[in-house]
Amino acid sequence: MGATLRALRALVLLSGFYLISLVLLAALAGVDIALYHWGLRGIGAVKIAIVTVLLAVPVVRGMFMLRIPAAEDPAAVEVGEADEPRLWALVREVADASGTHAPARILLTPDVNASVREDAKLLGLRPGPRTLTLGVPLLTGLSEAELRAVLGHEYGHFTAGDTRLSAIVVRGRAQISRVVEQFHATADGKVADERERQERTAAKRIAKGKKAREVDTRHTGALYRGMARLYTWYATVYLRASLSTARGQEFAADLAAARIAGRDATAAALREIPVLSAAHGFYLDSYATLGLPARTLPPRGQFFGGFGALLTARAGELEKLRAGLPEEPESRYDSHPPMAERVRRVEALPADGRGPEGDGPALALLTDPEHTLTALEEAVLTAEALGFRRTADWPELLNVAMAEGITTARTPLHRALTAYNGRPATLTDVLDAIDEGRLWRVAERLPLSEEAAAAKGRAFRQFVRPALGDSLRTMVLAEFSARSLLNWEFSWSRAAVLRLPGAADDTGASPEDALEAAVDAALADVPDTAPLRALLPPTAVQPA
């Protein structure tokens, strides 16, 4: 089957999406007409008519769901040509080289992604105005030549390919994917999952300025779910039928990018994007949002700005990530072929002599990167987050965040002992409980896995020891923290390291080692709390 035929088939299938609903409605109407035609009256006929109407409701609703809400702009900073002349010049230049028209707007977002959105109409049958969405982390992590390759790829989607129809197929796929997403979201309770996930990473949500979508529980009826499954099934058929076209498009867009930006820069950009994506996720989790529980943010402009420092400090680690590209597509219906294959195809092109052009990070294209990063924070962080205190530097943020985390932590042991004693527990209470031999009674109130709960005697103790150790350590550290005796070492290249006051003892054991040993002794089968009591700051624990 040729590319044109394949595209045509996909187009027919696309219209079938509407047809399926019309067929269902016609069938229902047919039942009613048949009843009337055969002169059936009476209570039975009325009942059947009512059932057909009830069944028609989800069908009609399903048809309306095919209407896609107008695409919304993501939280972003819109930059005009006057603000960023050099960026705009680059964008126009790449559009010209691709032989397509430049976007009407450029939006800078905090995501590791670049896309050209076309607000197409009629399920992608008619073109519309274009918006270029460009992630600032890409500007931070890619060189100018690599950025050119990324833009060349995006424009390639509008120009590459052998038929005019395949461009329509690509647009249609995007729309259908959104319909399926919507069905999943409402029908399978994905919204609830999504919200749960978002609440777990509340920090990230605030960072990206997203609001949790409203949970819609009205459509939980089985009929509705059945409808949703029918449409989803059809969409899957459609996506599969048009998959080869879509993947071919990706390869073609890569070739277009290589033509414009050079083979080596394109391959480098393709390798770099998954790495940047992983690194940025890690950066947001472990650095940028570190202080959110303590209602603290990094210095102004640093929320997204620290990413560059992380990339520099962890260059070695990233090099390893670049070596291992994903060999599998992300899902069966992902329009993007596996990254490893895309890189292979680009690298198989003949050398064009341009090499990996050694220019600096694309962030330098911006007139005032500092200013843009600050503006981006204001555009995408929630108003609540923007009201948080700003620290003077990153090490201060770490210390504030860790102190907050430790002093407000209600450890499982704390909760268990509070429940056991019937009054708020302190570290002294814990040590006293250990001395009185009641620790294992208290431990039965810890949240336990099925296996731990089933275990008895020594096996039970082995199960709960790690959790008790974590809790006890945290409670001890909280005592130190409350007296400002804790220090955390900030680093862009490795995890924060805890520093307790004091120096290594005669045997070379650091204060941190001594703490570990003391916690182990307190939780042993024959417990001894003396080493732990000796370690604590003087006023923390009075003798029992």
Partner: protein, 383 residues
Amino acid sequence: MTVLLWILAALALPFVLFAAWMAKVFLKEFFSGNAEAAIEAEEAAATAAEKAAASAALGLLPAERQNTDSAGPSTPETKAALAAVRGGDWRPAADLMAAVGRDWERRSLLTFRLADRAADDDTWLLAWEAARPEDPDAAVVRARSAVILAWRVRGGQRAQHTTREQFDGFRRTLLEAREEVARAAALNPDDPTPYVAEIWLALGLGYPNAKMDDLWTEITARAPHHYEAHFSALQYWCAKWRGSERLATEFAERAAAGAPAGSLLTALPLIAHFEHDDSDDTAADNTPEMVARVEAALKDAAAADPAHPRLPELRHLLAYYLHLQGRNEAAVEHFRLVDGHVDALPWRYRNDKAEYFCQVRDTAVLEAGAAARAGMSGAAESL
């Protein structure tokens, strides 16, 4: 009008199918029928009752009266020592350990029984250690109890049904146990028992084969034909742990061939076969090789000291394989000798080991009875 109706009917077909499918889903949720299962269970119960009656007539015990903690009866001294430690008194246990002395077979079994108790609650063992800090007997019980504790934390399920928490606790406890095992070995250099315990560390920590061979040299230097050492090492060489079917069979055959009669090591080839046999029929259990193995085991059992602490374990295996080979009368002979205790292979891997034991035993009894009646009425014996 008729044409219109036909068109509508054609259009309605997918919808009707769709509605039928939805109706099926609804009905499925309301009725999860298990009537068939109930009938099957009833029939099975009827035959089981018939079998159980035949066994009861021979004086064999029902499943609920089988001891699931050991393979055979304990000596009165062992019973007394176990009862004492339950009450917190370690002295009878210490005295018995001293009396057993250098009888390594009995020492390893007694240590295991005591350590098994200590893995639940070691208060008495702590008291023993406090009273006699350098006692090698207390040390070896401590070492084995630490290893047993680790395996309890892991649980008896296969790897895919074992949680991360269980594996982490298993490893942590094994590493602690390693120190106890080394201490016990240092306190009593002649004793193979700590090294037997170490084999179970080797399984859990995944010793490479070379390290296992080193360990094996230590053991055979101390006790060349020790039953529990061989049994444990065979587990290590099984495919499910660190070996393969070939390695396990080779190890078992070599041990059985090199051992004097009465050492009971003829059990090893049977166990190696049992561990790697996934077939559903008894063809694999009736090969000339398996028949020869059972014959050798019968001779070994006959030559053994009747008080050998591991003799019941071999009898359980013999009863099972004699039954599978259709020699039900001989099987019943062994079933009667071990009846009352079921913690042995091949039953041990099942959660319902007593029921499993009784089910196989009762079948053997029934078939032996039928064969005997057939024999009396003049049917040809084929031997």
